[in-house]
Amino acid sequence: MASSSSYNPPCAACKFLRRKCMRGCIFAPYFPPEEPQKFANVHKIFGASNVAKLLNELLPHQRDDAVNSLAYEAEARVRDPVYGCVSAISFLQRQVERLQKELDAANDLIRFACNEFPAVGMQPTAAPQAVMVAEQRPVELNGRIGNERGGGRFYQTPGVPFPYSNDIYNPNGGGLMDGSN
């Protein structure tokens, strides 16, 4: 009777693809057999060969995070085939915008209070924080949320502008605001 001590069950990917899970399978470390849905989603949205290509282009220590982010995007796309995880980004962008407005309002109030009543900050009994407020500039979130030109409504990561701020759909050279189209 052959020993089965070295038997490794096929990974979820090879199980799904109905093929032998070879030693050195690119998917095996990241798609354990206990999580079949993870690979099923990734395969449905990206395709096995695209995922393999993506993983092969990364260093081994990057692949785990890459697979997790792909799995997240795939699941989001399965749940929301129209927007995928872009809807979450849109939601968070709106939160950031709302918070920026609140910060601006708060900063205006601080400035008003400091300008109108400078004596408040100079009373000997004034709390230290009141003096600090009179002296320091109002805090702003990272300088400004939005682009450097001050007109952006949404946070823009370097090189990855969000296309949904103004022009929702402009396939003719539009879509992204960075002119990369």
Partner: protein
């Protein structure tokens, strides 16, 4: 008729039929759009996704697919999940700063009530005794996103 091929059919080097699923969303004057989407998802997967959607949703789906593909090409490890992480961090930072400013304003209010015989008034407030009031912060702490990101940020 070659000049009327959409970007997808040009990229795939095939004839562009009149009912091509890609042509309304991948026009020929924007080849990069389809190139990115094809690189990440593959043409057949994109076609299947679009095919399964009602026609009025396909434009938005094509846009979001392009955006996600663009993010993944720019950041092959995290894709647009990296942006979600950044936004969460920004929201957290903003809430901390807002809480700090609110505390400073509360301190100013307290100080003015202690030191001034009359309340200072904001020009928008008619009541002479009304303190500075910030608009309510709806949702308080990070509002629930659509998807469970808890395992991602552990």
């Amino acid at each position: 008729m070659n000049s009327s091929r959409c970007a997808a059919c040009k990229h795939l080097r095939r004839r562009c039929p009149s009912d091509c699923i890609f042509s309304p969303y991948f026009p020929s004057n924007n080849p990069r759009r389809f190139a990115y989407v094809h690189k990440i998802y593959g043409a057949s997967n994109v076609g299947k996704i679009l095919q399964d959607l009602p026609v009025n949703c396909r434009a938005e789906a094509a846009n979001s697919l392009y955006y996600e593909a663009y993010c993944r090409i720019k950041d092959p490890v995290y894709g647009c999940v990296g942006m979600i992480s950044i936004l969460h961090q920004q929201i957290y930072n903003a809430q901390c700063q807002l809480a700090r400013i609110q505390a400073e304003i509360a301190a100013l209010n307290t100080q003015s009530q202690q030191n001034e015989p009359q309340q200072y008034q904001h020009e928008h407030l008619g009541n002479t005794s009304a303190p500075i009031i910030l608009p309510d912060q709806n949702g308080g702490s990070n509002s629930t996103s659509f998807y469970d990101l808890s395992t991602w940020f552990d």
